[in-house]
Symmetry: C2
Subunit: 222 residues, 2 copies
């Protein structure tokens, strides 16, 4: 039985085989920027366009990751105080890092599955993004982490305020709000720097797709 | 800009659209059983066979989840003692539950991506498996969680001992080892009950594929 194990493990379906089935390569496209900068909007358009091309893509964002990868408030409450404190994530830099690291780990699993993984989180700290970049590329390939800075001035983001979060943050109802009471550390050399105050989500999404094509991730399908 | 947000969110690529692209439905195939029962081996054969059929499948197991979804020992050490204690998972029932819950959450994300997600973990506690079943099916569909009990007597698993873990557990080197110093709670009504002491991994994998076909998950490709 030992031998069977070894033999089968040696024949695991590889990332390369999954990519061959998909006719494109996997990677992480990591959108970062202030709340309201348009990360989710642009990522959604990219996801839709990739889907139209027949690519296997997936978007990780607050909507599907919050309260699933990390426990929901109800789940935490069921654990009792001691464990709830351990398993819940707060606002300390370490907590934020662990949150981003976990999202990066999930993105990495999707890349192993041969998929183009889009992530849309504020991810304000340079060190946290660099940690994910290093984890993803060291276990994968050098071009597997594509950092996309969705750049719009704070005033523009605050004027948009799609979820009313800036209003609450200004009223002191949300602590540690990036841009208001917590810093945003802009990427120093992102793969892509999108000007989201000046261009439409469709135009910005096209820039992302052009980049993916340029580096050979989707050239067989586009 | 608010309106753009709303419109695009309404047009997110749906699970159904991803499944249509894949020509099969998504689901979680949750393998459970003692260490050495053949979970990973059978899951790997299923993964390979699904891949041959052109299905988008992915296997979550100790090899790719340990030290990624949960932090590696080096990563934990870098956090310092307080945070390492919070972010690391131990052997308490709550820790085991949170580990299985997290894996279930990742499996659920893969299902949202239209994939057939195979998981191979001992997952010894009935309540933990039922928790994942309830999370996956309540947010997805009733047939999204397929529990596969890979059943072999302890004596058989211990005689195989592919990773030498039973030997270490008997020597007291591994605490809380399922079957030796911790209980295994067999599924009461699993979707599939595989007799792995009597049949080959290939035969067992065929039983899984037949089940997936029977419930309509892969009938368009097989």
């Amino acid at each position: 039985m030992d031998k069977t194990h070894v033999v089968w493990h040696a024949h695991n379906v590889s990332r390369e085989e999954r990519e061959a089935l998909n006719h494109h390569a996997g990677c992480v496209v990591w959108f970062t920027g202030l709340s309201g900068c348009g990360k989710s909007t642009v990522a959604n358009v990219v996801d839709r366009e990739l889907h139209k091309l027949g690519a296997r893509s997936f978007l990780l964002d607050g909507d599907n990751v919050r309260h699933s990868l990390n426990p929901s408030p109800a789940m935490l409450a069921s654990y009792g105080e001691t464990f709830a404190k351990r398993f819940g994530l707060g606002f300390a830099p370490e907590d934020r890092q662990e949150n981003i690291r976990r999202i990066g780990a999930v993105a990495e699993l999707f890349v192993s599955a041969g998929m183009i993984t889009l992530t849309a989180f504020v991810s304000p700290y340079r060190a946290d993004r660099n940690l994910v970049r290093s984890l993803v590329t060291s276990r994968g390939r050098a071009d597997d982490f594509i950092e996309v800075f969705v750049d719009a001035p704070l005033e523009v983001c605050e004027a948009r305020d799609p979820k009313g979060l800036y209003k609450k943050a200004r009223a002191g109802e949300i602590p540690h709000f990036t841009g208001i009471s917590d810093p945003y550390e802009a990427p120093e050399s992102p793969e892509l720097h999108l000007q989201s105050a000046e261009k439409s989500p469709e135009v910005l999404a096209a820039e992302v797709l052009a980049y993916l094509k340029k580096i050979g991730k989707i050239n067989a399908i586009s």
